[in-house]
């Protein structure tokens, strides 16, 4: 029976949808939103399960794992055992875990002796600043190059930009960061030390929204941002180029040419809007990749964000802190996936008015 054709009613109906007045967009959108929200919630629940498995079940002796190879006092051992609740049944531990996670209570960081949530809040803004600035620059540069490369494949611009994208994709982020650090911060040969070596601001200066401080932060931002852009824009370039190539053979472009539009108008008005649709989704989904880049870049430049915090937690290893950052990173990916779905629906009339 299983080899009966998996025909659906869509396979049978004439390809064109029956003519109707466009449908009731509002209610459809609510359904769509609810469906996507539900999917996001399920993803989050699964994230909790995976987090619980990794941080509570997998360490055969979490206390030993926490203190591996380091002298640990009896007081610390007792504290850890109590904190991890190892003597409780598994469901109770999971319930505790979920409850704590949902209230933002990830426990105390072992090395900072501060609530994990406090640490995360402190380090959130630097990460958003770094990731946001580099993502915007990457999208602008990557999409522009991708559009141009895909429109005229095989030309010089395509070969140069695609070649450098492939090369930059192959470069380990942390190593690129170190090289830029040596070149422009330590100074190498004739190149003077142009930018500060690490951190987010010069130690000892006053914070706040003074022009001096903002300029100082920007100076610190330049190198980490460039490093991240160099690695991330390559992905956007390749995605956008491939989307453009997918559109190239489409007859509606021939229609546009036949109408007498200039080549650039055909590209701008017809090819790009269509090529953007698949790209936007993929670009939103790249946020996981940017997070990975941010962890290594922040580590290299000691940028006081969540990535550097993860690295600091890793060295101990400080499991409550690792767990906190893991949950935050993963939750943000789920949120961006949701945004991707909504953006796609907004951009594509075929989905919008289906």
């Amino acid at each position: 029976m299983s080899n009966l054709a998996q025909l659906t009613s869509e396979g049978l109906l004439p390809l064109e949808s029956p003519p109707d007045g466009g449908g009731s967009g509002g209610q459809d959108f609510l359904h769509y939103l609810l469906r996507k929200l539900a999917a996001a919630v399920i993803s989050f629940v699964m994230l909790l399960v995976i987090g619980f498995i990794i941080f509570s079940l997998m360490p055969s002796d979490p206390v030993a794992a926490l203190t591996r190879g380091r002298p640990t006092s009896a007081k610390q051992l007792a504290f850890l055992t109590r904190q991890l609740g190892l003597n409780q049944p598994i469901w109770e531990r999971f319930a505790h875990f979920v409850g704590h996670t949902l209230t933002g209570n990830f426990g105390y960081s072992w090395q900072f002796d501060t609530p994990v949530s406090t640490l995360i809040l402190q380090r959130l803004w630097p990460t958003i600043l770094l990731m946001g600035s580099s993502t915007i620059v990457s999208i602008v540069v990557g999409m522009w190059l991708g559009i141009r490369s895909g429109w005229r494949p095989g030309r010089l611009l395509d070969r140069v930009s695609t070649g450098s994208s492939i090369t930059l994709w192959s470069v380990p982020t942390f190593w690129l960061g170190i090289i830029l650090l040596v070149l422009f911060s330590v100074g190498f040969g004739p190149i003077p030390a142009l930018f500060p070596a690490g951190g987010m601001s010069t130690p000892g200066t006053v914070g706040g929204l003074t022009p001096d401080h903002i300029l100082d932060v920007l100076r610190h931002l330049v190198l980490p941002c460039i490093t991240l852009v160099l690695v991330v824009f390559a992905q956007y370039q390749l995605i956008m180029r491939s989307s453009m190539l997918d559109e190239m053979g489409n007859p509606y472009l021939l229609t546009a040419r036949a109408k007498g539009l200039r080549d650039s108008e055909v590209r701008r008005k017809h090819a790009v809007p269509n090529a953007l649709l698949p790209s936007v989704t993929i670009i939103f989904l790249q946020v996981g990749g940017i997070i990975s880049g941010a962890i290594t870049v922040e580590t290299v430049y000691s940028w006081p964000g969540l990535g550097y915090l993860t690295f600091q937690a890793l060295k101990i290893p400080d499991l409550p802190l690792l767990e906190g950052t893991f949950i935050i990173f993963s939750a943000s990916v789920i949120v961006f996936n949701l945004l991707a779905d909504l953006a796609y629906r907004y951009l594509d009339p075929r989905v919008r008015r289906a």
Binding site: S170, P172, I178, I291, K315, L322, F329
Partner: protein, 301 residues
Amino acid sequence: MTTVSQAPAATTAPPRFEGLRRFSRQFAASPTAMAGLVILLAITVLALVAPLFIPQTALEVVNATGRSLAPPSAHFPLGTDQAGRSVLTLLIWGTRPSLAIGVIATGFTMIIGTAIGLIAGHYPGATGRLLMMVTDWFIALPGLPLAIALAAVLGQGDSSITIAIAVTSWPGTARLIRAQTLAVEARPYIERAKALGARDTQLVIRQVLPNVAPFVLVSATLTVAGAILSETTLTFLGLGNPTDVSWGSMINQAFNQGAVSDGAWWYLLPPGIAIVIVVMGFMLVGRAVENILNPRLTSPS
């Protein structure tokens, strides 16, 4: 009728492996693809023969013969590290763990990803939807934080890095293979085979798999590239086997032990360049195979 078996010899029909031959011809015609292939062959040979001319003892800190962080010289073509070991020796030896972990992790990725992709594509009903839900949950997990968490919990070492990489990279493969399986399953020749009475296993093995296999190959090449990058990143972050010499651990030590402030470029540059070359080798080969399978990407219209 008995002439049937001898028939091919008498006719002008193309030989059996015509497809493979055409593929090789197209592959050989692409300079970048050949460059990638040469890189991969050279690096693989180097990794395999390294123990023949580099004794294990040359890697131990106590046996170091040079100065700390000495620039390149006749004796040490790439200079020395902070312990006085030859960077060239470390570099050659470092090929081994990077390649090994990349390839093994990719093997796991391919097995899990292809199996799940094929099953989800062939049974697009409840089974397929469930499998894809699980896949999507894993895709929603950011790769490096998950790998860090896993490696941190499992402890330092090659096996935990391998597992961490496999766990984070199989969902992509599963999605690709599922999409390809769905595309193949929608082709009329599958319906024809069904109408001839083929069972599910016959369908998947005789019709679907041969058409999906090339995409598994492409995915594998690109996954190795990604896996090597992940391996070096995790090792750089200190999650690798602390006693082993790999490219990631070399950069880690260079970074943590003063090579940056001393401007010891001979210690910093070679492992990074080695990573770029190997990763690009896999990338170039993978993209070339992809372009041959999907000619739209190459032919300028």
